[in-house]
Chain length 413, copies 2
């Protein structure tokens, strides 16, 4: 046990989700919990949606005497490998796979959400009221939920459903490469209301001790006001600040910068896929590296403009231009990402992108085409299509109402 310093309690961390990105992040968090034992409980919980698996015969963990099938949590806890979703990667022994969501989250002050976005609401509703009321969350779920009326951040959906504050993590990261400890960077965004600077009303906490309960008006990114009650973290814990979050996620092979702009980090993760489609179209035309860099730059500036117009002062343009979640993720996605590759092939083969998607992605679907449509519907509703000519061009090309060759003249100004 490390020294507790001035604090009597340590943070317990739970990762909610155990796909390949979930396990890659859980591996990092568990490594850091073990090496920062002064502030974190060593044991890290990971909620695993239970299923029965067979260890593949070519796995070093395959045992002919016990060929299975076996429960996935048992396999993870026994051989420290998620043989189904992140095969070949050794997980830390202090990472505990837990099939019970409720049990996995119940004592944790730091909840890391890393599951497919369609499961967020259901998952959060099932643990509402069953977590520590002063827990804090970080969403590793990429992108945002755009519809014609506005934009919802997944971190806000989580926060509102659970009544806690939730930040976000996003960057130029491919799960398998991070799991293999290939060096990359990421951005963590975290900006909770300053509970300590407000006059708190003392209320009995669920556990009986006195904690601060702060009720404040919260304006979400779409400008909607809501009353949010947030409980201050008891003073026995080290405060959850940028420094502590860096200790949760930063590794020698996974460099973390912590910023305050949750909306910017989240929106970048969605919009960069639209830009990657444009880069793929241009690459497919064979226009060369300068044209590709030009379309990426124009796209980056439309991301900045989008943030500025629809989120105003709540967003920092430097999140797009300076951070891993912004420019670096844009570069990676426009170099070899799935949206880029399919857009390129659709030009080269002169086929609709849906056909490429069918032929190349084994039943998976592109995020960028969906986002392009959602963003266009939102922009149309705001009467702003013309102010985002690249986003609009991408949408129209996908619809077949514009040619890729028209991009330069359409975005010319």
């Amino acid at each position: 046990m490390g020294s507790l310093g001035p604090y009597q309690r340590k943070h317990k961390i739970t990762v909610v989700g155990s796909g390949n990105w979930g396990c890659a992040i859980a591996k990092i968090v568990a490594e850091n919990a073990a090496s920062n034992s002064d502030i974190f409980e060593k044991k890290v919980e990971m909620w695993v949606f239970e299923e029965t698996v067979e260890i593949p015969k070519d796995s070093p963990n395959y045992d002919p005497a016990n060929p299975g099938p076996e429960k996935l949590t048992h396999v993870i806890n026994r051989v420290h490998e998620n043989v189904k979703y992140l095969p070949g990667i050794k997980l830390p022994a202090n990472l505990h796979a837990n099939p019970s969501l409720e049990d996995a989250v119940k004592d944790s002050t730091i909840l890391v959400f890393n599951l497919p976005h369609q499961f967020i609401v259901k998952t959060c509703e099932s643990i509402k009221g069953k977590i520590l009321p002063y827990a804090r969350g970080i969403s590793c779920i990429k992108g945002v939920d755009v519809n014609e009326h506005g934009i919802n951040l997944f971190s806000e959906t989580i926060g509102k459903t659970l009544g806690i504050y939730c930040g976000a993590l996003s960057g130029a990261n491919i799960a398998n490469e991070v799991a293999k400890e290939k060096w990359s960077e990421t951005t963590v965004a975290y900006d909770p209301p300053h509970l300590d600077s407000k006059a708190p009303s003392l209320q009995p906490s669920p556990s009986g001790s006195q904690v601060d309960l702060v009720q404040f008006e919260h304006k979400d990114v779409s400008g909607n006001l809501s009353n949010v009650k947030l409980q201050a973290l008891p003073s026995e814990y080290p405060p959850i600040d940028h420094n502590v979050l860096k200790q949760v996620f930063h590794r020698p092979y996974f460099h973390v910068r912590v910023v305050s702009d949750v909306a910017g980090v989240s929106i970048s993760g969605a919009l960069k896929n639209v830009v990657a489609l444009a880069a793929g179209f241009v690459e497919g035309m064979g226009w060369g590296d300068n044209a590709k860099a030009a379309v990426m730059r124009v796209g980056l500036m439309e991301m900045v403009r989008f943030g500025d117009k629809f989120f105003g002062a709540t967003i920092d343009q430097r999140t797009f231009t300076d951070e891993s979640a912004g420019v670096a993720d844009l570069i990676t996605s426009s170099s070899g990402g799935r949206n880029f590759r399919c857009a390129k092939l659709s030009v080269e083969r002169n086929q609709p992108i849906e056909q490429i998607e069918k032929d190349e992605l084994n039943g998976q679907s592109l995020q960028g085409t969906l986002t392009a449509a959602e963003v266009n519907s939102f922009l149309k509703n705001q009467g702003q299509e013309e102010d985002f000519p690249l986003f609009t061009a991408v949408y129209r090309i996908l619809q077949g109402t514009m040619q890729v060759a028209e991009i330069p003249s359409y975005i010319e100004r």
Copy 2:
């Protein structure tokens, strides 16, 4: 002849230099002079260092009856092609190749400099006092002149030598692709002192008419004060402003943004080559697209920091993060540029980069290795090596005193 509008005189443009980039820019300028005949003289002069050439036999302009040799200016003016430096590209008929530098520049209000940097001083000194005293310049020469004591911009060297104001043009541009009208973008930077806002002293001009002569204190990018006398443009000409410069350079296939930050545009063009070396090293290691994007992002931020530390308020961070001369040129250079390719090969073949340079570049030399050494010498002199860990790492790797594998830990913070 177009309408002169409220102005009695039109701008005459001269391009000084006729290599492949010189001719590509001259082609653009001449196209624009022809199509904006209300403000520009149609005929554009291009100074050509005279030499005797033979038209290659496979050229459509080869005439067996007149096989040459012939003077290069004659060939250009006769067949409108620079058969030696930009073969296969039709130059506009209103572009006049002139072997006399003095004659080419003598009546021009807009001078576009596009020649190898080692010829700048000599060329400018030979026309000192022989140009219109109120002419304005644009330097298309990439990079800056760094030594251990400071940084000189080529545009400032030109401006000081000739006693005129000179801006800069830089972007993600490869001469041959621009010449082929493949779409790209560029950045023009122009920010002359506001002559009209100062109280001018009326002085007789060399041509006898009254013009404004403004003497003001000029602080160059290294902080040195000098007295510069600039002559205001006579009011018979349309003012040379961002709008007019856009009309000089913008084409449907060459999109121009005009900014005010000459230092930022120039420094980007030099420092991005150091970052491209780092990207090449990482690519050579096979670390994947995320690592490459990370090193590019870190490099971009060191460019911003470099501008901020050594140029302060005279530089705008957005030049690096938003403009073609910044982020886009960085992306292009780190995708397939020469510095990137040689750095990648040096890791893959485990050979010093000088060896790769010798084997791969046909006697040409890398800009990035030179800049890395110059920048390091400057940083060392300022005691700032540790604040620019990526630039320092690149230099040390080139020197053989650091391994590429050490980059992530060396830049970790």
